[in-house]
Symmetry: C2
């Protein structure tokens, strides 16, 4: 009986054409991030559960992939009376790139005071797979640690905006809000502080479940109708109002609240910085933006587009997280691009040009030519920079050329006994049909010039 050949649920194989598109996007992201002075790090796929647990909320903890103990450790665990999940594992798979960064910063005190790092790696979540939702997927993060300056916020927003623009995608807006402002808005709506986290979770779904959905959720979470209406009035931006107007509206609604005033001033300053950046014309203040994760402490961001329901990425300031590992506080701000979603949008909008993948030429040969002569010809062309595949066997020429056509290559180089004797190739363009007898080097030059 043959074994199943499919990848597990939510996991994917990437074949060459798709991988070429993914690499093209990764390269664009890398080059853009490096222009901003970000440097790369990578962290291990497996982390201690003590690093991961308690950082992503209860739901996040549930979605962690855990590594089963082995040998003696497993045997000992199974001997005890009441065996549970926590006895069977102390390692888990990376769930995001922010918590590992916080651990890494704490573990490497020799790193520069302002550490601008980017990281592009897969993460794993045992979520229900769906359209654009996988159990192994890639994240592309930029973070700046060590500074509370708003320049840090402006730089990560500018870098992310430049990535999207460079990929040819301009129909997006970075929504901006501030966690302190949100807190003040919740307070101003008369909602008790101990319901803040619950309220944020409900408001975070506005995009997905709409106004009525949020009303219902808030009711279920014990927020009364008056409070709910007050909050929804506060966080909804009136039509036709510009950034200055919206900031003014919020300022008036929360006048007298010093914390709110400070947060609004920060948002105003950030807008001014973004006007000088690549995010200019691609941002808007959105007091309803909540972001799910608990660790944000200042400005928060999310990329929205009418071409995609949901967010294409997000981030914000989290001044407390590194301190959970280090003991002393280190401020930080970051932005993460949802790689699979971005790919989906680029594909749907037809923003991938022709991406080369595979050999430039296939060498077809007859069985009266020594294989060593074929290898010599191939390596000679490779030395000139051509990607060469050798047809490994010698069936009839038509079959060899048929194979070359089937893999979409433009050129074939034919070697019979007479060509081999003279160290030349009969180079044929499969698109135009033109054919010339050329030295290995001239054949290479012709192929590279198209």
């Amino acid at each position: 009986m043959a074994i199943s050949t499919k990848p597990p649920s939510g996991m994917r194989d990437f074949l060459p054409a798709e991988l070429a598109r993914r690499r093209y996007v990764v390269n664009t992201i890398q080059q853009t991030y490096e222009k901003y002075g970000f440097v790369p790090v990578e962290t291990p796929s497996i982390e201690n559960l003590s690093t991961l647990l308690g950082k992503y909320g209860d739901e996040g903890d549930q979605l962690l992939f855990r590594i089963l103990h082995r040998r003696d450790k497993l045997a000992r665990a199974l001997e005890s009376a009441e065996v549970g999940e926590k006895d069977l594992s102390d390692l888990g798979l990376r769930y995001d790139l922010t918590v590992p960064l916080a651990r890494l910063i704490a573990n490497n005190p020799e790193l520069p005071k302002f550490f601008k790092r980017y990281q592009i790696q897969p993460v794993w979540r045992a979520d229900r797979p769906g359209r654009g939702r996988f159990r192994e997927f890639w994240q592309c993060d930029v973070d700046i640690t060590g500074s509370k300056s708003l320049i840090a916020e402006a730089e990560v927003c500018s870098a992310v905006a430049e990535v999207l623009l460079t990929l040819g995608f301009s129909n997006f807006e970075i929504h901006l809000n501030h966690r302190q402002l949100l807190k003040c808005l919740i307070k101003a709506a008369g909602i008790a502080l101990d319901s803040e986290a619950q309220t944020l979770v409900a408001v975070d779904k506005l995009d997905k479940i709409g106004l009525e959905g949020v009303e219902k959720e808030l009711e279920q979470r014990g927020i009364n109708q008056t409070q709910t209406q007050a909050l929804l009035n506060l966080i909804q931006r009136p039509c036709g109002i510009d950034e200055t107007g919206e900031l003014q509206r919020l300022k008036e609604a929360l006048s007298g609240d010093a914390e709110a005033t400070a947060a609004i001033a920060q948002l105003g300053e950030l807008c001014k910085l973004l006007d000088s950046s690549k995010a200019s014309g691609h941002y808007s203040v959105d007091a309803s933006l909540a972001r799910g994760l608990g660790y944000y402490t200042g400005p928060i961001f999310e990329i929205r587009s009418s071409d995609f329901s949901g967010s294409l990425g997000g981030g914000g300031r989290y001044d407390g997280l590194i301190g959970m590992f280090k003991g002393s506080e280190i401020p930080a701000v970051g932005f993460s691009i949802g790689f699979e979603r971005l790919l989906l949008v680029l594909e749907e909008k037809g923003l991938f040009g022709k991406i080369d993948c595979g050999p430039d030429v296939v060498i077809c040969h007859f069985d009266d030519v020594a294989d060593s002569a074929v290898i010599e010809a191939a390596n000679s062309m490779r030395e000139h920079g051509v990607k060469v595949e050798i047809f490994p066997e010698t069936p009839k020429l038509g079959k060899q050329i048929g194979y070359a056509e089937s893999i979409g290559v433009t050129w074939v180089a034919i070697m019979g006994a007479s060509e081999a004797a003279e160290k030349v190739l009969s180079l044929k363009n499969l698109a135009s049909g033109e054919q010339h007898t050329l030295s290995y080097q001239d054949a290479a030059t012709r192929i590279l010039n198209k």
Copy 2:
């Protein structure tokens, strides 16, 4: 209490300078493989245990990282009377790149008949960590499926040799042997066929434990002294003998054995092909080479170097493995480079040149300059291709320049109020001390020309 900040045992964080070296090697490998017409694939980190188990021998199965069941599935498993490893998991982490390739080939019948793929991804093994030995490490594989032609063997050997030579490393030799030849040698030594696998395992350790060690192992495995001596005499190459002489010696020792004669003829033909390839001068016939894994069926290879004890990579022909997934047989041959070991050798031999990493310039600014003006200057230089970091705060200039020096950057660009007013920068070379006032564009040009 702060949480532990170290990665788990056998796992590593990669900081920018080390990651830059790793990427340089990966890029060299990719570019070389692509010149040979190989195309990339990637497979998921998590595979079904049914895919992995029984392919790597008992020891391999023991070293798999298994994923713990979750929720209901875990609860149900823990309810049963005798709970064991197999009840708690049906997923495991990728252990090598060959078995996933075999699954992928079987799962994608639309792939070209001759599929030349390369794959560079991490694998995980719960091995005891040691020098150059990790629990998460990278493999770089090339494989050609669909052909029994020796051109396939020659192409993978040539590609791997070219990788090493391109990296500046020439002190290596690809040892060649043939599984059928080994089998005939074992038979000729009088060892029973059902001890073949055991014998191969012992011989495979020759490199590590020496002749005496192998003698002892063989004795423990029930091979008598006469047989052991006969085998060791057969597989050891006499001093000062060339490839032709060694093949002749083996042919004579096994004369009359048709299978041996065919295998020796194949090795002879392969040597001829390698003479026309990049592996020319970098191979030798070695009848003592065994390779641990059970699935090889034809020629086998291993990279050895006097600069490294142990193997830097290896491979061979495995015509049966894909059939385990597909039901019908598809021949295949592959070669895998041990990435971490290669890196270790390159480092020890000083073969890494200066690899750039990090920004070209840090912008230092005074607090009477608007942050938006600084961002504008940065983005202008970035548009010309310069990697620019903005110092995010405005302490005294000496402190800002000190930071730039500490991260090893060559240039700083200083912006005071007068520079900002005229949209210029005071560009200073930290190595030479020279300083010029330049427009953003001229500063960019100066930096890029060094």
